[in-house]
């Protein structure tokens, strides 16, 4: 595997933003983070639903299956059924 290192020039406001994110990450984990960690976090965040939307959607989705009474045991049972069907075949 070839690893390529890239040096990027960033302006002061971007650096300020990255430092803010780095500080936030440190607050959330209690350990030191690098500016690279902040960049990686931003990249991952950009590919996923925005946090504000995710929080709202999580509130809407929490407990939506309560009335159906689906349990972890149902999942285990269905997975076992699938295995047994393959075995029958």
């Amino acid at each position: 595997m070839v690893t390529m290192a890239t040096t990027v020039q960033i302006n002061s406001s971007t650096k300020e933003e990255l430092l803010f994110i780095k500080a936030q990450l440190e607050l959330h984990t209690g350990k030191k983070h690098s500016l690279d960690d902040a960049i990686r976090w931003l990249i991952e965040k950009a590919k996923s639903p925005p946090l504000e939307d995710r929080v709202k959607d999580a509130e809407k989705s929490f407990g939506v299956l309560k009335d159906l009474g689906i349990t972890s045991e149902d999942l285990r049972t269905l997975r076992r059924q699938r295995v047994s069907r393959v075995a029958d075949f």
């Binding site: 936030q24 984990t29 995710r54 959607d57 939506v64 689906i70 295995v83």
Partner: protein
């Protein structure tokens, strides 16, 4: 507690169907999963593989209509990023070849390996048996059990590796 979780799990993670079902069913554990994962501002991305979507759909479908299953699955899709299986097929195959895990479990662990992140499971007999009996199980270090954070405190914090 949340700091320990963040430190162990990292800012991107894969979640298994069992974890999702707890959340969607609105259990006490599901409420904690909601806070620790979905509402946690540290978590940048939550990944699932397509087989998890299929399992959630058919679990609902067995007890309800196709419309309801579609509706609830659409809600799930808003919370996560679905990674196509073809991106990490070989890793899934490798795990399936060396364990007797379900295809979905294998795909979840493979996705975590592919993305170099952790996968969040609930303790289940089958998975515990596999991990307990196979110390050399491939990619074991990728697995984190949500129960270790939601139901226990103190001594068990951060014991996952």
């Amino acid at each position: 507690m949340l700091r320990t979780f963040n430190l162990v799990v990292g800012s991107s993670l894969v979640i298994d169907t069992g974890v999702f079902i707890e959340f969607l069913s609105g259990t006490v554990a599901g409420g904690k999963i909601s806070e620790m994962v979905f509402k946690n501002p540290f978590i940048a991305s939550i990944l699932i593989n397509p087989l998890t979507c299929i399992e959630i759909y058919y679990l609902i479908r067995r007890k309800s209509s196709p419309e309801r299953a579609r509706e609830e699955l659409n809600k799930v899709k808003k919370l996560v990023r679905i990674v196509p299986l073809e991106e990490f097929i070989e890793i899934v195959g490798e795990i399936k070849a060396t364990t007797s895990l379900s295809l979905t479990d294998a795909a979840n662990i493979a996705l975590a390996e592919y993305k170099n992140i952790k996968v969040l499971f609930k303790h289940e007999q089958e998975l515990d048996d596999q991990i307990g009996t196979k110390s050399d199980m491939p990619f074991r270090s990728r697995i984190v059990f949500v129960d270790d954070f939601t139901f226990y405190s103190g001594d068990r914090k951060g014991t996952i590796s």
